[in-house]
Subunit: 230 residues, 2 copies
DNA sequence: GGGGCTATTATGTACAGACATATTACGATC
DNA sequence: GATCGTAATATGTCTGTACATAATAGCCCC
């Protein structure tokens, strides 16, 4: 057998041994030092390969205890969440949007709770319809913390809130939830579908440095699919 | 300013500079060598930090061209897809399942196409109802390539197909799609809901070494939410 | 036997030096 | 001016060594 060369080759070889059950789920595999000797490379190279597999969820590593094959191999999928405009344009369609509503209002308690702010704090409430090739694509309902806006507020008719935030309050943290719901009356009318139709909903909440930024709810047109690869 | 120590500190410092727009989106940041000198550490340490940020989608790196702040920072979320039993038990509920149907049949053309096999090849068709604390949780409709089964086929009444596959044909590749659909008659009856209700659907197709393994369609009970964090 | 200290061990991280590789910039040539 | 070849450069990777850190195993003592 020719020794694997390069950390990717080592990763492949380790994966192969796991697949053919040379190393069974739950079992401890040889130490980095041993593998480095077997493969004739530096320990750092083995470390790179094993760290990568650990991040992928295939291996579990603990100091002193060693490295073992994951027992319940959670499939870890990564999904890229693009800016809406980029998502539409990636399909070769033209993107446009219309702001349906833009007011300052008190958020409903669940939204305030999700953002971790007092329910009495007024937020910007913005309802936007996004179009792909002129046809409804999704409705974006956003609650925005006005504290992040500069004094002369930007013109959200020219640039979507989403893009403005990405350009000006970048690299936030947050969480996302996906669900299926029946379309409400407002969303249905905006999307041109029947109320009660099954729609794919994305709920996103973002902070930066612990300060709440925005809570968004995207209601996609029926037929939307969120894709990912293992 | 105290120099950051450790690759995570360097990553944090780089992120900070991006956040405060010290380095604007699209701009090229200093080379690894320069940063290593500034931070008083080895280039490998800077490399580790920058590689991590690149994987997170914050930076874009190209040889010779240097490292630049991502212009369209795709949010890259990772979601863990557990075995159904583990998912139910993680909620502190008891998992059980009932096989509603188990036959050998020809797959409908879309399924055959997704798996990349001839439509005339018969597959195992298995319909399973999963319960959480005795209440319907999801319906699993699976088309399984019989070629992966051992000669005395395992008893899928004792162990779910899902778990058997994980234990015996581990570490496959595949792809996943999520969507919202109206519940069909069969699923609705199994889940005890109204036909036409909005349900969250997961479609998964898996291969190993180019050989198709299985195509699964999970129809979740209304109210199900798929969670992730940025 | 139980409790707590210590030695051992595997991973985590860091370093300096080296070579590989992709890509750009530049200069020579036609 | 266009094209091709070459040099320069930033990242990608590997090596060998070193020390840090966490967690286990074993030991001693009570």
């Amino acid at each position: 057998m020719t020794a694997p060369v390069g950390w990717e080759a080592i990763r492949a070889e380790v994966l192969r041994r796991i697949r053919v059950r040379d190393w069974a789920p739950g079992a401890v595999i040889p130490s980095e030092t041993d593998l480095a000797q077997e493969f004739g490379c530096a320990r750092a190279t083995v470390n790179r390969a094993l760290r990568d597999l650990a991040q992928a969820g295939v291996l579990e590593r603990r100091r002193r205890a060693g490295t073992r094959v994951a027992l319940h191999p959670v499939r870890r999928a990564t999904l890229d969440i693009p800016v809406i405009r980029a998502e539409v344009e990636a399909r070769g369609q033209a993107h446009a949007f219309r702001v349906l509503k833009h007011v300052t209002a008190l958020p409903p308690p669940p939204v305030a709770a999700r953002l971790g702010i007092a329910p009495a704090a007024p937020l910007r409430h913005i309802l936007t319809l996004h179009l792909a090739d002129g046809r409804p694509f999704l409705v974006e309902e956003r609650w925005l913390n006005p504290a992040v806006l500069p004094d002369p507020a930007p013109d959200f008719a020219a640039m979507s809130v989403n893009e403005w935030l990405v350009m000006n309050v970048p690299y936030t943290s947050g969480d996302i939830a996906f669900s299926a719901e029946a379309a409400g009356a407002v969303e249905a009318r905006a999307l041109g579908i029947d109320a009660g139709a099954a729609v794919f909903v994305t709920d996103r909440t973002t902070w930066t440095d612990g300060m709440p930024i925005t809570a968004v709810r995207l209601v996609h047109v029926p037929g939307y699919r969120l894709h990912t690869s293992l």
